[in-house]
């Protein structure tokens, strides 16, 4: 097996090779580090790479597995985390000069859980500054492995780019309006935003407390399931964790027969680029041929999701950053990030609360919709990955519309996953978003896995990072 092939295995496939002693964790980490050396600079996906430490951890994993001390499916698997997630002793920059030299004293809960599961931390991935829609020039845009003249999206830009390019088997990102799912769609991989309150956010620098989620970016739905199982669960350090237990995420669904799939007409409409509309149409054909029942559902308030999301983010982010905004540090932000933060301080409280009240209405409408369907689907984004420097920001003049179909589920806290469903304009990937009721992460993962196997579209080495 070539190093290139090794780097594109699934987590389960790699784990099987470890346990049959045909591949060792050290070999896997070396192969991934080699790809980081070759393609990392071109993609600008990494902020920190832990070369020696990762190799040492791989050697330790190898010894443990050989001694029969098996910690489960992530044992010895090389992974990364977005650089707004705290890592003890490793700088956590948030993609900003304001946090460039910060070294946390402890791991975020999700990092601790990955380590306890035996995963090997390769390093920290690039992101939009403070996950707020714009790249800071000091860190630079992360590029798309399908075409390096295009963006990998954001804000979990480096996580998506690195996983798509075979530089690690999974990465953790954060998602406030679509920041896991949008880059996953642009890069042709899987991105899961779990149910709000399912995965701890302790030690993750917030963008917007009531909208932030943490979740995995992987190359398959099954890999996302394995990572979710490792990181989910109550955490006394996160006051927003809900006591509900996640449905058993370990049982894959065999087929799609009888699954009731809803479509929100406003999300299947005119703003789709032709290639994306065609890919979505093909995805519907796959679902129908697999026995799924397709029907329209109504969620009237979804039309106001973007306005509600940007209102909530603007106000909460300004509150989080008010110290820097007031102490003379504001000129260190990227210009558009600074604009967004300053605007957020001027959003009236009554409008912030109106946006929050709209969330309650939207949740009620989705609950009603889910009384008639099992899942809802939509294209993740209406277009493919834009060209370079295409990060117009989340709020203010000329803002992005990329989060139209993703942000409603940050407002409601429902689980939503983006899975690849083909390519469109410029040969770039398209994502299919699958949304479920709150706490049915197991269902969206199962439907995603079933779609993946039926569609026959499995993440392969993208053209922009194929070996010479």
């Amino acid at each position: 097996m070539s190093d290139g092939d090794l780097c594109f295995l699934t987590i389960r496939e790699l784990g099987a090779l470890y346990r049959s002693r045909r591949v060792s964790p050290v070999e896997a980490v070396r192969a991934v580090l080699d790809r980081i050396d070759r393609f990392g600079p071109r993609l600008n996906a990494w902020i920190t790479v832990r070369r020696e430490e990762a190799l040492a951890e791989a050697a330790a994993a190898e010894r443990s597995l050989r001694a029969g001390e098996d910690r489960g499916p992530l044992h010895g698997i090389p992974v990364s985390v977005k650089d707004n997630i705290d890592t003890a002793g490793i700088r956590t920059t948030c993609g900003s000069p304001l946090s460039r030299d910060r070294i946390p004293g402890s791991d975020a809960t999700v990092v601790r859980r990955l380590r306890e599961a035996g995963a090997i931390l390769l390093g920290k991935t690039n992101l939009l500054e403070f996950a707020y829609g714009v790249v800071h020039p000091a860190f630079g845009q992360c590029n798309n492995p399908w075409d390096t003249t295009h963006t990998s999206g954001g804000s979990s830009s480096g996580s998506a780019s690195s996983v798509a390019a075979g530089m690690g088997y999974a990465s953790l990102g954060s998602d406030t309006g679509g920041s896991i799912r949008i880059p996953a769609a642009y890069c042709g991989i899987v991105g899961l935003k779990p149910t709000y309150g399912c995965v701890s956010r302790h030690g993750v620098f917030p963008l917007s407390w009531s909208l932030d989620h943490v979740g995995p970016l992987t190359r398959t739905a099954d890999d996302a399931r394995l990572v979710l199982q490792a990181i989910a669960g109550p955490d006394p350090a996160d006051p927003t964790m809900v006591l509900d237990t996640l449905s058993d995420a370990s049982r894959p669904q065999a087929d799609l027969r009888g699954v009731r799939v809803g479509i929100i007409p406003e999300h299947a409409g005119e703003d789709l680029r032709p290639g994306v509309a065609a890919a979505f149409s093909r995805a519907l054909d796959v679902l129908k041929a697999s026995g799924a029942q397709i029907q329209d559902v109504r969620v009237p308030s979804i039309l106001y999701s973007e306005e509600a999301t940007l209102t909530v983010i603007a106000a909460e982010a300004a509150s989080i950053h008010e110290g820097w905004l007031r102490d003379g540090s504001a000129d260190q932000y990227a210009p558009m990030v600074r604009v967004q933060l300053e605007l957020g301080a001027m959003v009236p409280a009554v409008d912030y609360l109106r946006a929050q009240r709209l969330r309650a209405k939207l949740m009620a409408e989705f609950d009603a919709a889910f009384s008639g369907v099992d899942v809802i689907i939509a294209p993740t984004v209406a277009h493919v990955a834009p060209g370079q420097n295409a990060h117009p920001g989340v709020a203010g003049r000329g803002r992005t519309r990329a989060m139209k179909r993703t942000c409603p589920h940050n407002l409601t806290g429902q689980p939503a996953i983006s899975v690849p469903c083909g390519t469109a304009e410029d040969g770039l990937p398209v994502g299919l978003q699958i949304i479920g009721p709150r706490w049915r992460d197991d269902l969206v993962l199962s439907v995603a896995a079933a779609f993946e196997s039926r569609a026959g579209w499995r993440a392969a080495c993208p053209p922009g990072v194929q070996s010479a």
């Binding site: 956010r201 350090a237 106001y304 973007e306 209102t311 008010e322 409008d351 209405k361 203010g396």
Partner: protein, 73 residues
């Protein structure tokens, strides 16, 4: 009921920023005018939704801080 469209001027920015404790130069105030007009227009669109009867989904924090933003400074 929808609200009348607000005309944003540097003076409006100065007042709002002052109330929020943000030190903005006159040039900065001018720069933010069109951005604030854009975001306030978006925020005002929420007036079209009747949210009567829906309370904001607020929970009472009962555990330690999620992330101490001061630690990053």
């Amino acid at each position: 009921m929808t609200r009348p469209r607000i005309t944003v001027t540097p003076a409006v920015i100065e007042s709002l920023a002052g109330a929020a404790g943000l030190p903005l130069s006159p040039e900065r105030q001018q720069e933010l005018v069109t951005h604030l007009e854009a975001i306030l227009a978006e925020v005002a669109r929420l007036d079209e939704v009747d949210v009567a009867g829906y309370e904001p989904p607020i929970s009472i924090p009962s555990a330690p801080r999620l992330h101490d933003e001061r630690a990053a400074r």
